[in-house]
Amino acid sequence: MLLLISSYLIFQRRAPKGDDGETKKRRLFIISVLLLWAATDWPLGLLGASYLASAHMLQFLIYTMAVAPLFWLGIPEWMARRIAGRLRLYRLMGRIAQPVVGGVLFNFILIATHSPWAVDNFRTNQFGSFLMDFVWLIGGLLVWAPIVSPITEHRMTSYPGRMAYLFLALGVVPAVPAGFLTFAGFPLYAIYELAPRVHGLSATTDQQLAGLVMKLGGIPVVWGTIVALMYQWSEATRAESAASRAKNTALSAPEGFDQSNTEADQ
């Protein structure tokens, strides 16, 4: 974590002068790294890796719904371009920022990493657990790239398209495994079923809680973003129509005609 933050801060020394919003971006980046730490380390990391399915799901939610978008928002455009250029990742980043690619890959990761086979085999060892956390983070970065990629031309341009993408990629598919978890008759994951109980929470209740976290936990982020996009869209539309109205008025008004007088008369 320290390495991530320190390399970010060192990189920022090379920022072009007069770049606005650097402090805000720096804050967002540091928040995303701190959230990554909170989701990975004790106690949530330990609980999620060995004891509670609900903690495992909360970790997933933090990685994909908070860390990933904040990580993208915290990286300034010049830094992203410089890194993509040096590592020759520009084209790859463009490809994975396509909504179909991002959405499909994220949901594939979501379903694969929540299958009982994957959880019972990967969570039982440290490396597997780390791999699962890493894949979640990558999945989160993939799904948020079309919306908040630091490279502006990789973002989706249409507001309705962005809203529809968010709803489909982050709102619809997660409901399927969440439903399985909530309504399954038996505990699905052996690792959590056979772990010593935490605060007397039974394996079935814990699993139902995990399903609820998966189903409802993302709603504030997804719908909050959709509402923000809708607001931006209406503002943009209003600004556009105001501009076009002003342009039309200017074109239709005869030379020397005092527009302010006319408006005052009205």
Binding site: P116, D120, A190, L194, R197, A203
Partner: protein, 267 residues
């Protein structure tokens, strides 16, 4: 490399001498493992159990350790077995129970202990007509005992489970586990679970009668006693008084729900 081999030989020899089921128990223990998608987990916990002296090594494991069977050789061996089994049409579906099946059914012993109300309790005679799930543990056990009992409590509360199932928890730590302590502990899981205790000698004798590995608190290098190591198996006996299956730690709820109705029907 030589040191590794020597270590392996030592381990094998120690395993052979320490974990000889027939010598310890006089009771045939099947090497079959419960099937399901948790084979790896079973293996992991199995190894922990072996380290604690709870579950004897299976014959396959002993051979594997002795021969150093691993890597491509192991793969070839497993593929050959799979082919042979496939050709013979043998599958795990033929198993009657999901738990560990015994080679021969064994009658349930009938020792008399003291229950949590201070009354004499005959383990078989006082539970006639029920499935008896006998478990040897202790109330301060940090992991295996609470998990087993929690699983049983959850399973028995499910609709469709037979009503005639008795869980008999026999303490292996009578000095700490007084009847009142046992009752408090069991009430966390179910008020219907039966707690039993006795003198130290009686309890050792009961563990032997059930062919359980006798609980021990081995000393570490400095001579300080470690945590109590005990048998992690639940010994199941049908209403007809015969034991056909055992359930090691960990046993999943699905295994219990498959087997308990079958056991309850054996009258």
């Amino acid at each position: 490399m030589a040191a590794d081999k020597a270590q392996l030989r030592n381990y094998t020899e120690r395993s052979e001498s320490s974990f000889r089921p027939s010598a310890l128990t006089g009771f045939p223990v099947s090497s079959k493992r419960p099937h399901g998608g948790v084979a790896q987990l079973v293996e992991r916990f199995g190894r922990i159990e072996e380290a604690r002296g709870s579950i004897p090594l299976t014959s396959t494991q002993k051979r594997k350790i002795a021969r150093g069977l691993h890597g491509p050789r192991a793969m070839t061996f497993l593929m050959a077995i799979a082919l042979v089994l496939g050709a013979c049409g043998v599958s795990s579906e033929n198993k009657a129970y999901s738990g560990l099946e015994l080679d021969k059914p064994r009658p349930m012993p009938d020792p008399i202990l003291i229950d949590t109300q201070g009354q004499r309790f005959a383990m078989r005679s006082d539970t006639q007509g029920s499935v008896r799930l006998v478990y040897f543990g202790f109330t301060s056990c940090p992991d295996i005992c609470p998990v087993h009992l929690e699983q049983l409590s959850n399973v028995l509360a499910r609709p469709g489970m037979p009503p005639n199932v008795k869980v008999l928890f026999v303490t292996v730590d009578p000095e700490t586990d007084t009847p009142a302590v046992i009752r408090d502990f069991l009430n966390q899981f179910s008020v219907d679970f039966i707690g039993l205790t006795g003198t130290k000698e009686q309890l050792v004798d009961v563990q032997r009668q059930f062919s359980a590995l006798v609980a021990l608190a081995p000393n570490d290098e400095e001579g300080t006693p470690n945590d109590l190591g005990h048998d992690g198996r639940v010994f199941a006996f049908a209403p007809d008084g015969l034991g056909r299956t055992q359930y090691p730690h960990p046993t999943r709820q699905t295994t219990w729900t498959r087997d308990l109705p079958k056991l309850a029907a054996l009258r």
